[in-house]
């Protein structure tokens, strides 16, 4: 099969990416600006033998995709801020029970109902910390329809590999932007499937992991698995009063992501070779930033762009190393300083600058250029 060229919006590209990744179950609830994903899945899933269901709310949508994952399907939902808030409880259940699934959040401006039709990037911390308790999550941030396609496939692969809900943190502008999308030939796309148990049921320990991630037996496969959101031992049985079991479990749930940060790291560096100042950005803000960097370079400023494609786990080590080489970091994001906190944590407060937007509009390249000049000249 040859590659195909399509003209897709980010939302449609993400839906098509999901189908290519093997998604066969979608449960969702209408919400601007993500609804096109549900609509496209309603149209396309039946054509590939998958099930689409519109649920009564986002609590149900998230619960249903966990159920479907245990039924053996690759599953996903898509939403925006208010719906993402409702999903948090069951994202925690997904993290605790190690259920592979994908959640797309096409961010709009919040808090609360906020600006439903306009862009925001303020759910970054919610994606990381939204559910209660200690857990780790993976979150990816595409900056073009092409990346909506590519990173949604990657999100499914990582969900299967690490058995964790993976968040695709899109934003309204990227979701609604139409661009050329190249669909590679099927044999050029890497698809990952969850590890299945190789031992007979009587020897199977559903939550015992050799290398952080246990093998997963789904319903109807004869393993009589018990899955619970309670603290559980390697057999999957509740041990809700044993701090040692809790320690073992929570450490593993966090470490399976933390200790693989380097593997999960996905950063695009642009004009970084001799850069003295680095813009740090992601999603739509990284596009404005790129234009600003190009313009600033033409005017002789030694500035580069660090674009985060993997947002969580945050690349601490990467920034720690850069702290010596780069004089100043300017974080460009459509929120009041969320990724800025992460950068600051690694490179120090005096080196970190923020160019925020509160939502509803994207940065103009000239605003970023002005900030570059200001920081460059030591103001």
């Amino acid at each position: 099969m040859k590659k195909q060229i399509k003209f897709y919006s980010g939302n449609i590209a993400a839906a098509e990416g999901a189908l290519v990744a093997g998604c066969r179950f979608f449960a969702g609830y209408p919400i601007t600006p993500s609804s096109e994903i549900a609509e496209h899945m309603a149209l396309r899933l039946p054509q590939v033998g998958g099930v689409f269901i519109q649920m009564e709310d986002e609590l149900a949508s998230m619960a249903a995709i966990l159920g479907a994952s245990w039924g053996g399907a690759k599953s996903m939902t898509a939403t925006s801020g208010p719906g993402f808030s409702l999903m948090q409880e069951n994202i925690g259940l997904g993290a605790m029970t190690e259920t592979p699934c994908v959640v797309i959040n096409v961010q709009r401006a919040g808090p609360s109902t906020g600006m439903p039709t306009l862009v925001g990037q303020a759910d970054v911390m919610q994606a990381r910390w939204g559910s209660h308790g200690d857990y780790e999550i993976i979150a990816l941030s595409p900056f073009s329809p092409q990346e909506c396609f590519d990173l949604t496939i990657k999100a499914f692969n990582l969900a299967e590999e690490y058995r964790v809900p993976v968040i695709v943190l899109m934003d309204e502008s990227v979701g609604h932007m139409f661009e050329k999308v190249v669909i590679p030939p099927k044999d050029k796309i890497k698809i990952v499937e969850r590890k299945k148990p190789t031992v007979p049921p009587e020897k199977y320990m559903p939550y015992k992991a050799e290398d952080f991630v246990p093998e997963m037996a789904c319903a109807g496969e004869g393993y009589n698995v018990h899955v619970t959101g309670l603290t559980h031992d390697e057999k999957g049985y509740p041990q809700a009063t044993d701090p040692e079991v809790q320690d073992r479990l929570v450490r593993r749930l966090c470490d399976k992501i933390r200790k693989n940060e380097k593997k999960l790291r996905d950063i695009e560096e642009y004009e970084m070779d001799d850069a003295e100042i680095a813009i740090v950005s992601f999603g739509i803000s990284a596009r404005s930033s790129k234009a600003a960097v190009r313009f600033a370079r033409q005017h002789g400023y030694k500035v580069g762009l660090i674009r985060l494609k993997t947002i969580w786990p945050f690349p601490d080590e990467y920034f720690e190393k850069l702290a010596d080489e780069i004089k100043k970091f300017v974080v460009v994001e459509i929120n009041y300083g969320q990724i800025k906190l992460e950068v600051e944590r690694n490179v120090g407060r005096e080196k970190t600058h923020l160019l925020p937007k509160m939502g509803g509009e994207i940065h103009k390249p000239e605003e970023i250029y002005r900030k570059i000049k200001e920081v460059y000249n030591g103001n």
Binding site: A27, P46, V48, V51, A60, A64, W70, A219, T228
Partner: protein, 276 residues
């Protein structure tokens, strides 16, 4: 003389390594679970394809004792979890086992919509009139005037009639028994398990620890005596007429048994058409 340890005929259905269970003396849950296992024994459901899903609460612990694929989910979300499970793998027989608070307060919206869609699943609800695990707070089924820890002056809320809610929402099979009606309950469970579509069985059960002792029935036995004296079997009546009141009769029986296309059939039919 040595006493020979013999296994129980229902052992194969249980995770014996998880017994003893957590339920209080006098609780109705053991009886209800026993009826369910007997019902399984008398149907030809392949245990390999049986999945039990629970929410949170005392009844929510049922999933942890049955030796099949079992899922103990979040509070109120057993039904939508079960919906995903069933739709992803149509071969499964999916049973939701949970309590009145879990299914009808925090999970009420999911219940009515799963019934409306006629998702092919069996929902077994043990109704003990209160939140037992958290210590006896009032719930959506607490009868008017009954006492609960969050209704210390007596309940002023009108309770749900669960069978009425289920029937009005579209369930194709609706029955109510008390935990005293073990044989009839088992038969209803069998019918519900064999029914295609959204089937619902409500079991009124004692909770002496959290509810009974605040409402003049301090032991399970007293509550069972009450069931014996006040249960009235009325098959086929409009469940709207089967409200439950403090000190009143408990109307039990099979109220609804109808045929209706299921969501599952419809969605797989739709897939066939779309693939042509």
């Amino acid at each position: 003389m040595e006493i020979e340890a013999k296994s129980h005929p229902l052992d194969r259905y249980l995770r014996a390594d998880r017994i003893p269970h957590i339920w209080c003396p006098g609780c109705g849950l053991g009886t209800v679970l026993n009826c369910f296992l007997h019902a399984l024994e008398e149907t030809d459901i392949d245990l390999k394809n049986l999945a039990v899903v629970s929410g949170i609460g005392c009844t929510g612990r049922v999933a942890g004792y049955i030796n099949v694929d079992s899922y103990h989910t979040t509070h109120g979300r057993a039904v939508p979890f079960a919906t995903g499970l069933k739709l992803a793998n149509p071969k499964l027989k999916v049973v939701v086992f949970s309590g009145d608070g879990d299914l009808f307060a925090i999970g009420g919206n999911h219940f009515i919509h799963a019934a409306r869609r006629n998702i092919d699943m069996t929902v077994i609800c043990v109704n003990n009139y209160n939140y037992g695990m958290t210590g006896g707070q009032l719930g959506p089924t607490t009868p008017l005037e009954a006492r609960a820890t969050t209704a210390p002056y007596g309940n002023i809320e009108h309770p749900f009639n669960l069978c009425h809610v289920a029937a009005a929402s579209g369930a194709v099979y609706v029955a109510r028994w008390t935990s005293l009606h073990v044989r009839r309950l088992k038969e209803s469970m069998k019918e519900a398990l064999n029914k295609k579509g959204f089937s619902f069985v409500e079991i009124i059960a004692p909770c002496p620890t959290a509810f009974g002792r605040r409402n003049k029935e301090p032991t399970g036995l007293e509550t069972l005596k009450y069931y014996k004296e006040h249960s009235v079997i009325k098959h086929g009546i409009d469940p709207a007429e089967a409200d439950i009141e403090m000190g009143g009769d408990i109307v039990v029986g099979k109220f609804v048994d109808i045929e209706k296309p299921t969501f599952d059939e419809a969605v797989h039919e739709l897939i066939k058409k779309a693939r042509k």
